[in-house]
Amino acid sequence: METPETPDEELVARTQAGDARAFDQLVVRFSPRLYGLVYNMTSNHEDTNDLLQDIFAKAYRSIKGFQGKSSFYTWMHSIAVNMAINFLKKRNRRMTMSLDDVDNGIANDPEFIEATSDYDPRHQANLGELQKKLNEAMMKLSDEHRTVVTMFDIQGMPHAEIAKILKISDGTVRSRLFYAHRQLQNYLQEFITT
């Protein structure tokens, strides 16, 4: 059994040497994070599940070519983002939302309490409605803008890491975030107090 401390590099090296169990450990380690990335880009659980399978299958096929020039984390995220963006281009307007349940912990989150308490009481704000509105607003963004918002605001990645994964400059990341936030302010006006 692997300890959680086994470094990614060691698991990668063992996978490259033909140890499929080492790759399983990488799947366990990376799937929750990559799930969040793809799910927030697609707003669809089934699409996310299929894509995630494809992403890990591609990573497994290509891992012999991974030379460690970037971290395995960056390499995996690059594969995931590129495949998700390609998928979104193909999916185009056929999309339907299929949202995951919201964890019960949100009810105690001060940010949630604050967001819903400021909400216009005539709309009977509730969790489901907020979730739907947030996802609808996200899906109105362009794929590129949604990607940076997902990585920065939802996943909490630093600008430099996003720039490395997307192979764009730090300035481009910041500018995409600025425009995306401005658009989201328009879509989510009812939740914002001025």
Partner: protein, 143 residues
């Protein structure tokens, strides 16, 4: 709080959207099953090639042997495709036909040195049309 900060806070709430409990355990099993299924679906030649490559170190095949085999195969293919001295294709002949006319477009009499055609290589080749039979062709016994 600025609107920008409020947007960031709202977006952070999306972290609470999670797949059902046990999803990630099932995901790994699904991934392993899919990997096995892909192995079964792989074409025979791909499996044979992988086995050959994995056997190579055991049978001490030098690494350069593969490159040599590939280079020989490419060279052999090139020889087959471009055979030296092979007959020119009919298409090439048809293209050259216009320049290889045996008859002159206009006759000239002997003494004139007007080239009437070009060779297939483009270099001028002088032909003459004789108005009568040359004297040398006449029989010496005729009087």
């Amino acid at each position: 709080m600025t609107p920008e900060e409020q947007i960031s806070k709202l977006l952070r709430l999306k972290r609470y959207e999670q797949p059902r409990p046990g999803y990630f355990e099932d995901f790994l099993q699904e991934f392993q099953a899919r990997q096995r299924a892909e192995l079964i679906r792989r074409p025979l030649w791909e499996i044979a090639w992988d086995r050959l490559v994995s056997l190579a170190p055991a049978i001490q095949v030098p690494r350069l042997a593969y490159a040599t085999i590939v280079a020989l195969a490419v060279a052999a293919s090139a020889v087959i495709i471009v055979r030296p001295g092979a007959p020119v294709s009919s298409g090439t002949l048809a293209a050259n036909r216009s320049t290889l006319s045996l008859t002159s477009p206009h006759s000239v009499t002997i003494g004139e040195s007007v080239p009437v055609t070009l060779t297939s290589t483009g270099s001028p080749s002088v032909h003459y049309v004789l108005p009568t039979r040359p004297v040398s062709y006449a029989s010496s016994r005729s009087f």
